[in-house]
Symmetry: C2
Subunit: 97 residues, 2 copies
């Protein structure tokens, strides 16, 4: 899994408006109604992390969840991070169809 260039990352981020690229990682902050809703989303994300064998650097304060994704072995952002970001988006912002 090789590190993506800054330009590749910015191009991919066009599809991920909640995410920003800085400090060799992609970052997002999500706000929920309360702690329960926030931790419920974290639990669902945790299962995705295990399924993808890729784990975030994340923080929570009450209803706010902050997530940073990078690939340690590649020393930067890789497709693994975007795969996890996509799974996270599907959890935190389900699209009604």
């Amino acid at each position: 899994m090789s590190k993506l260039s800054a330009q590749d990352i910015e191009t991919k981020l066009l599809r991920f408006p909640d995410w920003e690229y800085f400090d060799d990682a992609i970052h997002a902050e999500f706000e929920f109604d309360n702690f329960r809703d926030c931790f419920s989303a974290m639990s669902r994300i945790a299962f995705e992390c295990e399924a993808l064998n890729h784990h975030p650097n994340w923080s929570n304060v009450y209803n706010v969840l902050t997530i940073s994704l990078s690939t340690h072995d590649a020393n930067g952002v890789t497709d693994k991070d975007f795969k996890l970001a996509e799974a996270i988006e599907a959890i935190v912002e389900p699209v009604d169809e």
Copy 2:
């Protein structure tokens, strides 16, 4: 719920060797075997937080959980923080009896 003095906090911390006091909060870091074990502990802690209606500022990276406790309304550390710290200790370091 009134803010405890630095001296009261240090005295109370004698019973909590995993915790340190700085920046108007008490802080601890716990290491687990892997992400699953770490997130399992977080889930149990989340239930205690809801039961106590008191929530941490916490971060996770793979098998490491970092927790900071303070009481926003009191602008410092109160007995609520020690109550939650005690509940956390019971989860992360169960004593075999």
